[in-house]
Amino acid sequence: MTKKQFFLVFMIPTFIILFFLAFYPLLNAFYYSLQNWDLRNSRPIRFVGLKNYIQLFTDGRFLNSLRISLFWSVITVGFSVFFGAGLLAPLINDNAKGGFRTICLFIFIIPALLPRVGAAYMWRLMYSSSIGIINYFLSFFRIGPIGFLENPTYALYSVAAIDIWQWSFLIAALTIILLQDIPKEIVEAGSLDGAKRWQLYRFIIFPVIIPPFLSIFFIKMMESLRSFDFIFVLTAGGPGIATETLDMYAYWQGIGSAGRVSYASSMSIVMLVITIVLITIVWRGLVRWHD
């Protein structure tokens, strides 16, 4: 088998599958989004042009879910990078050595490896306002009981806290591994110059690991779009629409109760466009900022 034959034999089948998996559903979704298909309504399906898209931007509930999704991404990315890379990684890097360090790393990745449905239940049990252990601890300080998931003011933060819990530890573990590759001389030179510990991190250590760290940051950003599992198990978008993200709303409209397939399709197209635009902007920005 020549190089060329090998190339063709293995590339063609795989890319036929991948192109099909990527483009067929999307083209379908775009096609449906121009129609008025509704599972609950037996009227004949016809083309309505951009009507669904126009309706989206006058739909208060859609705009609400857009706002909640953006807010979710910002706080989960921000806090998990801050806790993980800013606080936990230096803490372990400076104070845990040898076997203890390995144990810490091992424990840190466990929250992220748990099935998100499982993690969601674990926290729902702890958040409970009647039997939850968190409210029990708060009662020592004469606080509560707080309806973490029942109160619209707290619900989104309570769910986001779980995502931050999973990701802070994972980002910390990854940062610690990155820190291990830094040559000792650089750090020692810095400390001889009398730099304080936080200055060492801020000006010497973190700048060295920025390129690999940016890809971690980027991945966390993409993953923050996958909030459905947590929100479905903990609040299902409620109370009211206080935690209804884009995917939750699109699910209710298209697949859940409403069956408005065309309308939900237009939502998934809009989501895709927003994601592509945001990714491009952030990625370009990160690269430029680094240079």
Binding site: P111, R226, F228, Y251, T275
Partner: protein, 271 residues
Amino acid sequence: MARLNGKNIFYKIIIIIVLIIALAPILWMFLSSFKSRVDIISYPPKLIFTPVMDNYKRVLQMPTLMHGLSNSLIIVPISLLLGFIFGVPVGYIFARIKFKRSADLRFFILSLRFMPPVAVALPFFLIWMRLRLLDSMPAVIFTYLTIAISTMIWLTIECFKQVPVECEEAAHLEGCTQFQVFSRIALPLAIPSILGMCIFIFILLWNEFFLAFVITSQRAVTMPVASAAFAVVGMEVPWGQICASVILLSIPPLILSYFFVKFLPYFFKVN
């Protein structure tokens, strides 16, 4: 040796507290899974109680959960195997053979992994509905190939790059065909790290919830979907059974996590 002074001990205590925060939800659920109905809803929460196996017994007799478990045990390995067959040789090609549009195709593969789930799930739901394959295992497996193949290619490119080029060049000179170089030299040398990637993809697919939730309802439900069925808001929550089923659901990823630390840096490379 680290000196044991006050500051040192202070930081050690902080680390212990941090580790407790990382593990507390899992440990609490593990404890609760052995509690009787009365102990679970007692307030203040009980740390000391008589452990019972009732929850596990009941969960192991629930048809939906057992069905979900056996479906997951079929769907995940098959998707992984197909991901391996279609993904690994392509990972090798990207690592070793230069061709036009290589970078563009790589970006396409990466973007597959990062598409918003709803943008993927809804179209798949409609396609499987039209083909009358909604709620069937082939539909789930085929949908999972999006994740399995793209992740497999992305991760194995790095594995093959670690193989010394000299070995492959020597084999070429000996008159080996390209396929022999791949199957007899490159693959055996790279297989330890490729197996690490397989573990990662196994966990990814085992934990996957949203896609399966959308395209299955009864016959083809996976374990996470079956467990999430408890979540109907407003119902009286059967906490004992939830705890037991979540622990069962979490066992495979927890066991595999042991192999995970070593390969961790691989999974977060975006070039």
